[in-house]
Symmetry: C2
Subunit: 209 residues, 2 copies
Amino acid sequence: MLENFDPIIPEEYQGCKYLVLGNLVPTIQKSVIERLKNRPKLIVMDTMNFWMEMMMPQLKETLKLVDVLSINDEEARQLSEEYSLVKAAKKIMGMGPKFVIIKKGEHGALLFHQNEVFFAPNLPLEDVFDPTGSGDTFAGGFIGYLAATDDISFDNMKSDLIHGSALASFAVEKFGTERMIGLTAEEVLEQIQQFGDLVKFDIHLENTL
Amino acid sequence: MLENFDPIIPEEYQGCKYLVLGNLVPTIQKSVIERLKNRPKLIVMDTMNFWMEMMMPQLKETLKLVDVLSINDEEARQLSEEYSLVKAAKKIMGMGPKFVIIKKGEHGALLFHQNEVFFAPNLPLEDVFDPTGSGDTFAGGFIGYLAATDDISFDNMKSDLIHGSALASFAVEKFGTERMIGLTAEEVLEQIQQFGDLVKFDIHLENTL
């Protein structure tokens, strides 16, 4: 039984600065936090609709302890009982997390913090070969860049999100981890540049309004 | 019968630089182009799935004469018989238009030109009161800014798209044209600034890859 899984934290994991709680039983996620002797600098949590249906009270207890919640748009609506994602994010931030990431699948992801919002688009791709694992790749790219820069500001988190999206856009090109294995830093850089180009526009308003 | 509608171009409309063909019978759209003594600098065309089902051959004839096609994602797939919007846009550009705008509703809009792509997001809104007319407001904002700047480059068209999106984001706030009537240039400017802020991120990669 998954519910009886009793995670032991290896001694060398004590003192970790960044903790990502994968999508698992909320009570187990909570026990992991409690078994760390020092609170990490940042705790990111993933969850899903199944836990909202089965263990909402326990899920809400765990939510109180985390800094970043990462869920998809439907889950955000279910958790908050709000249709507008702006309202949903505000309500969820009232439950504990200071940052909320709402993933919209092929339509990109939103990052909310206080009264601010950032949107990370997805690159329009000619072919999507296999989307399996793109969510985990996104999460890995996000926390990897965050840990490497050791900066938990909202502005830096925007870049983290773009890094996660860039890596995920590679993951879908081939089966499994195939595309990721030979990936070079140059390729990642080029992809991130493409995200920048995708949304870049100039504002010249003097003569027109 | 709509099919028998025979549009007369008023003399003062002759010589127009920018022509937007609203969503109507493709043969009528074509006859409007043919009745202009001088070809406009830019012809924008809107259409919909209904005409694809009823009059695809005529629609394709009209398509050959226009510069910009503006449709939604499902229509782009139907017209091109491609699921990937990147492939769809390429195929449609092969049919005549040099620019293709693909509207994704609340998820924003893509602008394609040759091998380039630009993405205009939608502002995440707390409340959407009435979406009626937001598509037409978008089109009006787009062509209005384009005509005001008199610049049909891809780069300027990006800004046009953002202007259209900004105006549409106001249109949904109230019924009908209510919100648009008192709208000031300052409000529009602020909204455009918000579009910029929504997608702005910094790339600091030196130490991380």
